[in-house]
């Protein structure tokens, strides 16, 4: 096992394959020390490095060269060296810089979570709860774009986009031909299709799943329900598409399947991409073989409506005086 390299993240040492990034090493440890990732997607080659939320401090470069790195580095694109020491949540500098990135990500974000379909499973929402400020210091008009339909099943709400480029990489790597991309530059950059071309591809629906915010939404689910009122169930079917395994998560409300998505792992990443037929057209329970309820993390708002036994909080808090008074009342009534 000599070819493994040792890396210490926030005081926890882990041995990983050479060439692993700091972020993936942290994911092997798990827990709070995993840096948040808005643009990195382990299934997409070349992703990462853009959102800067995963920045960490390298306090010791490696065993051979113990100098610290001069700047904070993007953990998703920096590979570990033997003996490297990384500080994430133990470094106030990192937390401050990350809060700065979150603030900057939010200055042009519409914060329309109450009407956004992504609310409840939105990475940006989670991130801003953890690191964001309660109010903004940005007092200028926010940048806005028109909503456009890219393809008949997908709507693009560019105002919400954080330009993570995930959907561009998805279209490049799992579909035959990419027809959407980034137009313009700077803060006028937008995701769009070439002269309002429609995204028409068997796998185009996956851009909805990889989108960390509510910029790309499923038109068949649009405004149907809040995600935390729906119940996710893992299911599968025999899909005819050669590249699709038909393993999905169905989102139920009562008897109805409101939406079908790919299955996601604990880091919110799609396990296997699914085809558009499974995603958009098969919305009856009879189309699917149900497996089991999807495991949702306890911290997610979706868990509040999950199948696991859920103990509601006591409505009346324990109050000894009240209880004593009740006891007296009870004795009185039983006397009669």
């Amino acid at each position: 096992m000599s070819d493994l390299v040792k890396v210490t993240i926030d005081g926890i040492t882990v041995e990983v394959e050479p060439g692993t990034t700091i972020l993936n090493a942290a994911r092997q440890i798990g827990g709070d020390i995993v840096p948040p990732a808005m643009c990195y997607y382990s299934k997409l080659k070349g992703s990462g490095g853009k959102c800067r939320t995963c920045i960490v401090k390298v306090s010791k470069g490696s065993e051979k060269d113990p100098r610290p790195m001069p700047k904070l580095v993007a953990s998703c694109r920096t590979t570990v060296m033997d003996g490297m020491e990384v500080q994430n949540i133990t470094s106030p500098e990192v937390l401050e810089a990350r809060a700065g990135v979150v603030e900057i990500l939010l200055i042009n974000h519409p914060l329309d979570c109450p009407v956004c379909d992504q609310a409840g499973e939105c990475d940006l929402q989670n991130l801003s709860y953890e690191h964001g400020l309660q109010k903004t210091r940005y007092e200028f008009e926010r940048r806005t774009f028109d909503r456009i339909d890219i393809g008949d099943k997908i709507q693009l709400h560019m105002n919400r986009c954080i330009l993570c480029y995930r959907c561009v990489f998805t279209a490049d790597q799992i579909t035959d031909k990419r027809v959407h991309g980034i137009l313009n530059r700077g803060d006028h950059s937008e995701i769009s299709t070439y002269i309002q071309n429609a995204v028409d591809n068997d796998f185009s629906g996956n851009v909805i799943d990889v989108c960390p915010v509510g910029a790309l939404t499923d038109k068949t689910f649009r405004f149907k329900n809040r995600v935390w009122f729906t119940k996710p169930v893992d299911a599968h079917r025999n899909c005819n598409h050669e590249k699709c395994n038909g393993k999905v998560t169905l989102w139920y409300k009562g008897e109805d399947v409101l939406r079908v998505t790919a299955r996601k792992d604990q880091f919110g990443e799609v396990e296997e991409f699914i085809c558009n037929e499974c995603r958009f057209d098969k919305k009856k329970t009879s189309d699917w073989t149900l497996e089991h309820p999807t495991h949702i993390s306890d911290t997610s708002v979706i868990s509040s409506n999950h199948y696991e036994t859920f103990k509601p909080l006591p409505v009346i808090k324990e109050n000894p005086e009240l209880q004593a008074a009740n006891k007296i009342e009870l004795e009185k009534t039983t006397k009669f």
Binding site: G48, G49, K50, C51, R52, I55, K71, L72, A74, R77, A97, G100, V101, E103, I104, L105, I107, N108, R137, Y138, F140, R143, I162, L163, Y165, G181, I182, N184, R185, G186, D187, H188, S189
Partner: protein
């Protein structure tokens, strides 16, 4: 009179033609290098010369060349960065317009040193006349057997191409330049890998500034040791400075590094002083992205010694009291110029030119510009100055490429040195729209605090 190496024959009529250029000793270095030296000899000479990159960062060129990976069977490329778009910098354009052959000669020698058989000159898209001049010069050189197959019978082949740029400042960042050259959107790549390992089309690549490549010619002609004698300390050789702003004689000057800043501004040989008999208020010493300095810190170091035009002396004192030589875009401001307006103008530029790839720069540059616009037009509050400081701090160092830093530094330096003027703009919203803050005490000699005197003794 300083020595001229690059601009020695600039005033000779017809120097842009191959014939006149060769009469004046042009292409000697090609014959010398290709016929009498090995590629490693040339790299060694450049290393000995101590030449530092003239594009802004000042990284030693010889070192950069020696980092180039040399795997078998993979082509190597030399790319010349002519995407000069920094506000205040126009030296490369001048060189390419008037002595295109100096660049081509440098390209041949440098390509030979690096073992590149295909080289590119990436010229800013707006400089169409210069692109035509270079293309014509390349044709002339080709006809004379200085380019193409079997150059001067030595068996060395080199094809040289000129590529018009994508029309964005960011394409001057080396990895964005390579992306743009490959025909993609000019977004900077995430480093590592560095271009020396995987650059153009994934092959080892060296990207050098126009002036660095042209400077290789005198190094090969006279030898690296001879070149290293010019200049001061680790800043060797001569440097083109594009002087602009409120000067009597703005223009491109070739200086020996180590020239005192005071002499550069006030001597008749160079800029000839501040125009219209006004007094100097501030300077930006190396193009818009370097920190702005008030007049007193421009001419003198914090310890009272004169400041020199060299990489070390200009950055003496760090960002607290120093700046950078950068690309040599020297901008002088007289007492009537408004620093707030100037900072806003620079910020506007970086906002416009941000590529939009990473979030701090994409959103932060726009924010900086909007706050500065607000202050400039008299709607600011005192909190805004602190907010500006906080926002620039969150951009700096957290971006993929140096554009984020370049956007943050001028703002930081303006607040650091000219906070009084910002406050005046906020406290006098009406007056600041019609009059200027003036020189104030920005040109007064810096009085040393007792602690500083003590620490020096």
């Amino acid at each position: 009179m300083g020595r001229k190496l690059l601009l020695e024959h600039i005033n000779v009529p017809g120097i842009h033609t191959l014939e006149v250029y060769r009469q004046k000793g042009g292409y000697r270095s090609v014959e010398k290098a290709l016929k009498t030296m090995t590629a490693d000899d040339v790299v060694e000479e450049v290393k000995k010369s101590g030449l530092r990159g003239r594009g802004g960062a000042g990284f030693p060129t010889g070192m950069k060349w020696s980092f180039l990976a040399k795997p078998e069977g993979v082509p190597r490329y030399l790319v010349c960065n002519g995407d000069e778009s920094e506000p205040g910098t126009f030296k490369d354009r001048y060189l390419m317009t008037h002595i295109p052959h100096a660049l081509i000669e440098g390209m041949i020698v440098s390509s030979y040193a690096l073992g590149a058989n295909t080289s590119y000159i990436y010229v800013r898209g707006e400089m169409m006349p210069q692109i035509r001049i270079l293309e014509k010069a390349i044709e002339e050189a080709k006809a004379a057997g200085l380019l193409g197959k079997n150059i001067l019978g030595t068996g060395y082949d080199l094809e040289l191409y000129v590529q018009p740029g994508g029309g964005a400042y960011i394409c001057g960042e080396e990895t964005a330049l390579l992306e743009s050259l490959e025909g993609k959107r000019g977004n900077p790549r995430i480093k590592p890998p560095f271009p020396a390992i995987a650059g153009l089309y994934g092959c080892p690549t060296v990207v050098n500034n126009v002036e660095s490549i042209a400077a290789v010619v005198p190094i090969v002609n006279d030898g690296g040791d001879e070149y290293a004698k010019i200049g001061i300390g680790r800043s060797t050789g001569t440097k083109l400075i594009s002087a602009s702003g409120n000067l009597v004689k703005p223009g491109v000057y070739e200086i020996e590094l180590g020239l005192p800043v005071e002499e550069f501004i006030y001597s008749d040989e160079y800029c000839g002083g501040i125009a219209n008999g006004k007094r100097l208020k501030a300077t930006v010493a190396g193009g818009s992205s370097v920190p702005i300095l008030p007049a007193n810190l421009t001419l003198k170091l914090a310890n009272g010694e004169p400041r020199l035009m060299s990489y070390e002396s200009l950055s003496e004192g760090g960002f607290a009291t120093g700046t950078m030589l950068g690309s040599g875009g020297f901008i002088a401001f007289d007492e009537d110029q408004c620093i707030v307006r100037n900072t806003w103008n620079f910020s506007r530029f970086y906002h416009h030119e941000s590529c939009g790839q990473c979030s701090p720069c994409r959103e932060g540059t726009g924010w900086l510009e909007k706050i500065l616009h607000k202050i400039e037009y008299g709607h600011g509050t005192l909190d805004d100055i602190d907010l500006l400081w906080d926002v620039q701090r969150k951009i700096e160092g957290n971006t993929i490429c140096p554009l984020g830093d370049a956007a943050a530094w001028p703002v930081a330096a303006a607040i650091r040195h000219f906070r009084d003027e910002f406050e005046w703009h906020i406290k006098e919203p009406v007056k600041s729209q019609t009059s200027n803050y003036g020189l104030a005490d920005y040109a007064n000699p810096i009085e040393k605090t007792p602690e500083e005197v003590k620490s020096q003794n």
